[in-house]
Amino acid sequence: MTETTDEKTTGIAEAAPAAAPLLKVRGLVRHFPITKGLLKRQVGAVQAVDGIDFDVYPGETLGVVGESGCGKSTMGRLITRLDEPTGGSIEFEGRDITHLSTGGMRPMRRDVQMIFQDPYGSLNPRHTIGGIVGTPFRLQNVEPEGGVKKEVQRLLELVGLSPEHYNRYPHEFSGGQRQRIGIARALALKPKLVVADEPVSALDVSIQAQVVNLMDDLQEELGLTYVIIAHDLSVIRHVSDRIAVMYLGKIVELADRTSLYEAPMHPYTKALLSAVPVPDPKRRTERDRILLKGDVPSPINPPSGCRFRTRCWKATEVCATTEPPLVALRTGHQVACHHPENAPDQAPEDTPGKVSKTAPK
């Protein structure tokens, strides 16, 4: 494991600009125990996040994609420390925050904020908009210039709402407006890192674009760093500088946007990309759609070796026995696969045992 970590670090170093990472995640693990009986004997664990490594650099947007249940939301809750990691380490600006207590974490909360998925659940229905957006100041004992009310109204304007909405209640707003309120709240303390968990998936497509563009503009204006979790590849492509693809609690591929979309290396990434609808009917017939067979295996008992092997058309013996490490096969393009696409085979001696499962259209 140490070897692979070294390789990874070098890979990242090559890819990254000279700046030190804002957020450094190493071997992050979160297992949810499954207990049974009166004595709460642990009989297993849901391996929601099972050893992931990545860095987030100041000013960039890291997109995290993956299908439902692959652990991307858990990952988001771990790096904002809403949940306690089972193992691994999280460093923010060089400071280890992996197991900080609630009290120890409080000063860090200013710098790490979260935007939530459900605009209907993330705002307290009993508080006014002014109260909601002003809460961070109250909790962190920050007195902004010109008072809390003036600052809240400025924030509301910043996200495209009217300052007159100060005394309204959340139920008077649409989903898109509520998400803007959530963004205003997240930005109140001028955070360095904003983790957005499916920020637009609960919104209409037209509103999605508004919110995504608002987030883009705010990033430029305020120099924010984003970790955006989404399952929508179009959204991710639009906003991300680098993209991490997750499958069953692991990062299988981590690359910059163009590299990932033009030449995906992991078969899973390729399958995901092939599932994106093409708006042009002429082009639609030209491409191969890769239809993955079956469901995601249970995270309680994941497959041995490579976790994707049960659904992979390139799987061989080595995939079942050895877990492929996440290594940089090209500058800034890390992948965890024995038989990557668009790159030299990592285990050429192991001939494919199965025939191609690619379903030609």
Binding site: R109, Q140, A209, S234
Partner: protein
Amino acid sequence: MTAPIETTGAAAEAQPEAVLEGVPSKRIEGRSLGQIAWLRFKRDKVAVAGAIVVILLIVIAALSRPLQSLLGLDPNEPNQSLIDPNTTLPLGDFGGMSADHPLGVDPKFGRDLLARVLEGSWVSLIVAFGATLLSVAIGTVLGVVAGYYRGRVDAVISRMMDVFLAFPLLLFAIAISASLQGGAFGLEGLPLHISVLIFVIGFFNWPYMGRIVRAQTLSLREREFVDAARGMGARGPFILFRELLPNLVGPIVVYSTLLIPSNILFEAALSFLGVGIQPPQSSWGGMLNQAVKYYEVDPQYMLVPGLAIFVTVLAFNLLGDGLRDALDPRSR
């Protein structure tokens, strides 16, 4: 794939301004959740009637003593002239109804029933409100703590609720009242009886409130605004009392109004058994207790406190149901 995003992107840039322009020059009244509930409540005629009766009752109970002197009636003044010395029953029809004594007089003493019902009203309402307040306070705090912290805290509090619910309350109340008859805590007579009743009823009824609050908290704590508050560095008490409690006001108010009538009945039951308010102080339960002996020969006597309890309990229940429909329309 990029095409739709670019077009919607252009449209989106125009949108925020559209949002700003969309703010109407004519002010639209913003309504808080309370105002919406009030509008909904006003439409429920039965509940409004219940509320009016409840308000009337509270006013009457608060002004009970002045009303008595205004009418020139004394609840403890015997009128032997109105009693048939042979049967000890009131003279005249309908339990001795007359212009001087609109609801008649009681047998044996000839005390005015209107004055006694008035006097009993404030005792009943004070005990019911006090006991309800006590159980709501204990139940809310313990319920929200159990629901939010879960785990061991929840296990301890929940088992405590089970124990309290399994307690033979009536026997306990009789024992406490009997042992405190002489005077305790520097109190004696009526204030002592009222405090004992409030304590016994309130302290043993809190688990009902506690369970409701705990169940509501369990579902509320999973909402994302709780995570959002934690993400901003909120401590436990802040989340409990600033984020969760405002969302629990609805159920708490509703179940309090439903708890009041049951506490009125409980007070009546204890006084009926002779362990609540002690004679000669009048209370609704105590009047019922005395009336039982005469129900065949003087049914009017039982009717007066019985109707008072009936109307009060019904009014509070109607009000409670109306409040529940208004504050929590999903529970219908």
